[in-house]
Amino acid sequence: MHIPYTHHRLANGLDILIHEDHGCPIVAVNVWYHVGSKNEKPGRTGFAHLFEHLMFEGSEHYDRGFFQPLQEAGASLNGSTNADRTNYWEVVPTNALELALWMESDRMGYLLPALTDAKFENQREVVLNERRQNYENRPYGFAGMAMMAALYAPDHPYHWMTIGGADDIRAARLDDVKAFFQTYYRPRNASLAVAGDVDTDQVLTMASDYFGPLEAGEEPPRAEFTPPPAITSDIRLVLEDRVELPRLYMAWHSPALFAQGDAELDLVGEVLASGKTSRLYRTLVYEQRMATEIAASQNSREIGGFFQIVATAAPGRTLAELEGAILQVLGTLSERGPTSLEMERCQAQAEASFIYRLQTVGGFGGKGDQLNAYNVYVGDPGFFETDRSRYRKVTPEAMQRVCREWLRGGARIVLSVVPRGQAALALEGSQPVSVA
């Protein structure tokens, strides 16, 4: 099982990946730029994402907004930024493929001549409103920021979240945009995937025509970082927020994306908190009813990962109870490993999730997006099957080993988020943390 594709690299360094799927008369165009919030500097956080917004505001040869001609052609389209990359996609009827390539290549090559102060200032306001809507005005919305800041030192590029600090967003200047574009938005730092009801040779010709003339640019600098020093004793923090129920966040450093132990921890997350049969759900929510919700996940990224457990206390129950129960469940898993039934279930779920991922050509997580992800992160667009085999090879012993190696006592960040004015509901010894 795989995603068959053809790979070409243009002279300017742009990778072109083409996948044919004739199921539906649509085609996905997907572009990844290997730049994200980890390429930002302290004091200018949030910039990569703000920049993404400007990519939708028009380019030199079509300066009336990016959406208009594409929506008129029946496209759905979007983009997103995370710590490691920025992606853009359109899904269009096959007769609009050339239009999508025209538009994507125009903003890759000729964004700056169309950029104005007015557009920049407008999108800065929009992004500040996005931050208010998705973080400031949302219960527990600041917890992620507090966790990242605690897991990574201020000069590590995962110290801040992609949305960035509000003051940093306000401090952004138009000149920064120009420098950022010239440094990172070059063909040699990008990967183009076209997936859908198309003919490979025709796509290659068309894409080469549109993207071939763009200047390669310089090799962009890599994000600089010092690996975070190991946490040597648990750090307990408390954050007061407009919430009704206290919530506990517990995190450890963990392997980077595709590194040794990454897949094992993914399955540990499944066994711990995916579905009603999972150990934490069953113990904390189903049997003891001390938590209203529970989540556990391996969050692996390009230069590091963190494993996180999140549990919300049921009314009248304490975070200390939650912590005790979580540690007991973890202890048992570390000591005895998963059961054969759990192995069967989490392997079946992993297997199914790879097949679910083959259902759509476009959009976030569609086949075009996956080809680009594998190309950008491991330099092999055909990594699908290797990726899948990572999960098949996981043994119960290996899962037990990663629990012992990574999810240790004394190496945790533990954050209590409690209702305003009720700091006493936090775990004992928690230090107040403030997030702007």
């Binding site: 199921g23 009827p93 999108q123 929009v126 409103n129 400031e136 005005n137 010709t205 003339p213 919430v243």
Partner: protein, 456 residues
């Protein structure tokens, strides 16, 4: 070849699209099975549709339908809740259940080779839920906790206030989750009674879609549900097509004060038309122009021109009965009044002062028609499409008539439905935000005195 950047490339000829064929099978117990073949990936998706939703909650028991649907996967037949989910996990199954005003829908997707086990699990859940006290206690408690958490969710607060004020004493007037008092007073016997009398085979539609033949899909569904004995329901679900249209609320502006809120959550709208309206396609086009896509008037004004919000949209929530038309946005506190004024002027102007232009009409129609095939890429999408036919009583050739009907909508039709079906004098505006930051200028809205929405 050198590319021409002096103009956008023309679109090629429209690709042909064949809508998936839907076949029907009726069982002796009254159950209806729809099958759709979809061979792209080795998956099968089963969807169960009951036309029983939150509107069928007994008057004193808002939330009963939702608790009942929540109890379906809490153990069935020989399996307790844990064993049931163990079985689902082993087939890589993905179960979702959702409840709206008019219907309860359960969807189970699994690897095609486990289709037989999947459909049997789904059938067991619907036909023989165990409905045990300890599971009921836990499910109810989780829902009560959810209600507690919703007190801090501005969008949920706004939706609730908006719904309650548009539909007082009406089956559409409460959220499916119900209220604290109702959940606390609910007994397990009520759930059992609701299930027994509402969930009967003649009301059920099963859509089976995926990597198998019509015959095989139909046989799977028939094998799993054929033995369910026909019986009459002792309680009839609310028939939303017979629901009255509630009168417009007396107060046109209502504010929920949330001290230190980072934004104002905004809803503007009124009761609108049922799905069966002959103006359905014209209203879809109107909505695209007004607030249904990125390049719509309201989003371009409030976001791209003014920067008041991350996004603003409008929608007609078409149901079997008269659902709401609403504008949704979360706006910067200090700009709240200006945002409402701009939104109101867009809602007013499209009715005639600034009618839809040819270019807007074409963009709106094209987005609906050219983008249509994208809705049929996965088995689950196709199941959902087919379920709409069953829920709204649409003909089997509905999909293939959709595009021509949209393309037949012209400027005059859009302006007519805008002036007939958006009524500025009836619009209700709900604001959830910090009154201090919104400022003393609410009078500028000219909506009369603002009603205070009590917190909690």
């Amino acid at each position: 070849m050198a590319v021409d950047r002096s103009r956008l490339p023309a679109l090629g000829p429209e690709p042909r699209f064949r809508f998936p064929e839907i076949r029907r099978r009726s069982l002796a117990n009254g159950l209806c099975i729809l099958t759709v073949e979809h061979h792209a990936v080795p998956l099968v998706s089963f969807l169960a549709l009951f036309p029983v939703g939150a509107a069928s909650d007994p008057g004193q028991r808002p939330g009963l339908a939702a608790v009942t649907s929540d109890m379906l996967d809490e153990g069935s037949g020989d399996l307790d809740a844990i064993e049931l989910h163990e079985s689902l996990g082993r087939i890589g199954g993905h179960l979702e259940s959702e409840i709206g005003s008019d219907a309860t829908i359960l969807t189970l997707t699994s690897l095609a080779r486990f289709a037989d086990r999947g459909i049997r699990l789904l059938a067991d859940m619907l036909m023989h839920p165990r409905l045990e006290q300890r599971d009921f206690d836990r499910v109810r408690e989780l829902r009560l906790n959810r209600l507690v958490q919703m007190r801090d969710l501005a969008p949920a607060l706004a939706d609730r206030a908006f719904t309650e004020r548009l539909y007082p004493d009406h089956p559409y007037g409460h959220q499916p989750i119900g209220t604290e008092a109702s959940l606390r007073g609910m007994a397990l016997a009520e759930v059992g009674g609701f299930h027994r009398s509402m969930f009967i085979p003649s009301r059920l539609t099963i859509v089976a879609a995926g990597d198998a033949s019509h015959g095989a899909l139909g046989d799977l569904a028939e094998g799993a549900f054929g033995g369910w004995s026909a019986r009459a329901g002792t309680m009839a679900p609310v028939d939303p097509t017979r629901l009255p249209v509630p009168p417009p609320p007396r107060e046109r502006l209502a504010v929920l004060h949330r001290p230190a809120a980072a934004q104002s959550e905004l809803r503007i709208g009124h009761v609108s038309l049922p799905r069966s309206t002959p103006d359905y396609h014209a209203l879809l086009v109107l909505n695209m122009v007004l607030g249904g896509q990125f390049v719509s008037r309201i989003n371009m004004n409030l976001r791209e021109d003014k920067g008041y919000t991350y996004g603003a949209r409008t929608s007609f929530d078409f149901r079997r009965g008269p659902g709401p038309f609403a504008l949704h946005a979360s706006v910067q506190s200090e700009a709240t009044v200006d945002a409402v004024i701009e939104a109101m002027s867009e809602l007013r102007d499209i009715r005639g002062a600034r009618p839809v232009t040819r270019a807007e009409l074409e963009t709106g129609r094209a987005a609906l028609t050219r983008g249509y095939p994208q809705n049929f890429e996965t088995a689950e999408q196709i199941s959902r499409g087919a379920a709409q036919l069953a829920l709204y009583g649409l003909p089997d050739d509905y999909f293939s008539t959709f595009m021509p009907k949209v393309l037949a909508v012209d400027e005059a039709a859009v302006t007519r439905v805008a002036s007939e079906h958006i009524d500025p004098s009836r619009l209700l505006t709900v604001l959830v935000g910090d009154r201090e930051k919104i400022g003393p200028t609410l009078d500028r809205l000219d909506l009369g005195a603002a009603a205070e929405i009590p917190p909690g």
